[in-house]
Symmetry: none
Subunit: 416 residues, 2 copies
């Protein structure tokens, strides 16, 4: 499956903070993964400091071997930022202030509380012959320019801006030029481990098979990718769809979404669609469950209220959990989880109420109730079920993240 | 602050999975950070596939410009693993099976549940003239070899093995050869933009000055780094401290922490230390403020309760915000922000109550109250102050993240 030169891509990540190790370069990995889905293969990544001469040399080198080079970073307003200068030098052209870019930068600053500094005008400099790439989510425009027969894209370093401009400009342009077709399908599973999944589909995950199945895990969510190469897009799509179907059939009760792995969005959109009101009651997750649900645009139509009853007295005062129940079973118990979801539903009138109470650590564990023990309450139209989970103790934020996703998945399952 | 050639280090991270984006290269950052502490500057990182020819060329290139090159990965037993071959080719020498390495590999397999395969004997191949570096935590030995006057260290890719061998071999050897010393200082600021900061200290951020000042921004938090080079560690430290002092004096009201940039941790630890109880009342941030504060270990001693009063009726019912006030000023107003913090303090008895109400988007904005408008309420011992901010509309999660950090910063300032 070796790619032709024009399908080979080189990446450059630019910034002193990346080379020195203060910040991990995540942009390259993300760009490489997105490109791979389209059938483009990244064959080299260089991480370089904000050093004009070094950058110019890297551009020349990479452009000799690749059809496309994508650079991120070094487009800021300070004297440190020299990506524009390096690209101009490598292309053997001058650097001119672009009126089009200046207008875009001024527009980005209009209506902000931060004023545009003189240094921001520097961001309007572009190599002669370059095309400006508008940045709808930041102040630094990017650009594309030809160097030694290769097409170079320069994008800003902040991931939010990079991501948007990668989609808008780089991927759109490259997609138009693809030769052999690659089809990619994705699905998302919850409630089983990466290795249990991998054991089940071992033969489909060997590097040399087509389609190729890959899996990654984050906070309990498995992202399964099927990538098929075919003679045309229809052929590749058929291959990918067939394999995806087999996988989803084998793990039916774990599949929750195809397009994305955000359990909050899947549950939130379902609630909005069906007009089901929701409330949350949290102890160890401390508001994270409410925060995840309220991150979903449009959720205000159904999200009634969230309660972060962290202290025991808050559980009693606000959600009416009997003090006697807390004393007898402890705050981390199925009984209290049930009482929390009941209290949240009764106070707000919500049809769905999710509760979480557990021991996230680092302290607070005991042999009977170790760090990682979490109880969940799921109330639908007045009926409560409770679920107990024992997560591995890989730190407070790991346990909290997994607990939130579990609560969301339980809510989703209760409604289907 | 240019380092002498013998103090400049190049890094090579080797592996198909790193280039394709399936795994993020964390080794380079870790190695760079450790080297920097010793005064060695990493000036380039290359991430490359398991491709002998490409690797050999990278070794030659990097050895021409650096005194030391550290490579990780590609030392496994399979045919994919070609780092040894590439190093031999770049050094212009042959590859011979080392009896010393074979003995070490056999010893590593003794007492393991996996048997040593024939393929593992491949791991005993070393470039002629290379020195074997024992690996006490894995089966693959590393090696060091001279290429073009530079010293090349080849270490295994798995982080646990890399880390141990970096300490045992690379750092020990390099420490013995240090000439000048480097001291690094960091501080964190909130409430001003990266470019306003850069405009204010422009002269100190030029790449050729000593000490050198750098800045990065995330969710409104600026991380400022001062790096000084001196004839000895005491001298370097004095230079770095003096510049840090000047910066902190110039931006006094924005400085909130030296060791780390987590505003929730700074505020949370202050609250625990002083025994000040806290409650939160959130609308647009939907629990994120409570989630950030409850992520701080030990916070349960002071965190009373969090209210996610998303719907207007929840604001009225749970926190006693008068319906008349909501109708007259709207939920996003200074009046309602004040009432939310008062309600949270009254219900819980907390001494500090922070409230957030705003328009995070994507919908819900108007000319008078655009997306990005957020009102904050800060109550300390019964006295409320309100603050209004207009953040740029870079998406819901950007506005929410900035709003949470602003609330934390306002809480911190109110207590100092």
């Amino acid at each position: 499956v070796s790619a032709a030169r024009h399908e080979r891509v080189g990446l450059v990540s630019i910034g002193d903070e990346l080379v020195s190790g203060r910040i991990v370069d995540r942009n390259s990995g993300e760009i490489a993964a997105r490109l791979l889905e389209l059938g483009f293969e990244v064959s080299e990544v260089r991480v370089l400091p904000d050093d004009e001469e070094k950058l110019a040399r890297a551009f020349v080198d990479l452009c000799a071997e690749h059809g496309v080079v994508v650079a991120t970073g070094g487009l800021g307003p300070t004297l440190d930022d020299v990506t524009r200068h390096a690209a101009a030098r490598a292309a053997g052209v001058g650097l001119t202030r672009s009126e089009e870019a200046l207008v875009a930068i001024r527009a980005a600053f209009a209506g902000r509380s931060f004023a545009m500094g003189v240094s921001n005008e520097r961001q309007a400099l572009l190599p002669d012959g370059a095309r400006m790439l508008p940045n709808p989510v930041g102040t630094a425009p990017g650009f594309s320019v030809e160097i030694g027969g290769a097409l170079v894209f320069a994008l800003p370093g902040p991931p939010v801006e990079m991501r948007r401009m990668l989609e808008d400009h780089v991927l759109t342009e490259l997609t138009a030029s693809i030769a052999s077709a690659v089809a990619t399908r994705t699905t998302h599973l919850f409630g089983l481990s990466e290795s249990v999944f991998a054991d089940g589909v071992q033969e489909w995950m060997r590097r040399d098979v087509n389609p190729l199945v890959g899996v990654t895990a984050h906070a309990g969510v498995l992202t399964v990718t099927v990538r098929a190469r075919g003679v045309g897009l229809a052929d590749a799509s058929d291959l990918a769809d067939a394999r995806l179907f087999e996988i989803e059939a084998a793990f039916r009760e774990h599949v929750f979404s195809r397009p994305h792995g955000d359990l909050a969005r899947v549950l939130g959109e379902l609630l909005v669609e069906r007009g089901i009101s929701v409330a949350t009651a949290e102890s160890c997750t401390g508001g994270l469950l409410a925060a995840r649900l309220t991150a979903v645009p449009g959720i205000s139509a159904v999200f009634r209220e969230g309660f972060v009853t962290y202290a025991d007295e808050a559980k009693a005062r606000t959600l009416g959990v009997p003090a006697e129940l807390l004393a007898r079973h402890g705050a981390v118990s199925a009984e209290v989880a049930a009482a929390l979801s009941r209290g949240a539903a009764e106070r707000t009138g919500a049809r769905l109420a999710l509760s979480v109470t557990g021991i996230a650590g680092p302290g607070g564990g005991s042999p009977a109730k170790p760090v990682g023990l979490v109880h969940f309450g799921v109330l639908v139209d007045g009926r409560v079920e409770t679920v107990e989970r024992r997560f591995p103790d890989r730190g407070r934020s790991f346990v909290r993240g997994l607990a939130v996703n579990t609560a969301l998945f339980l809510g989703l399952r209760a409604l289907s």
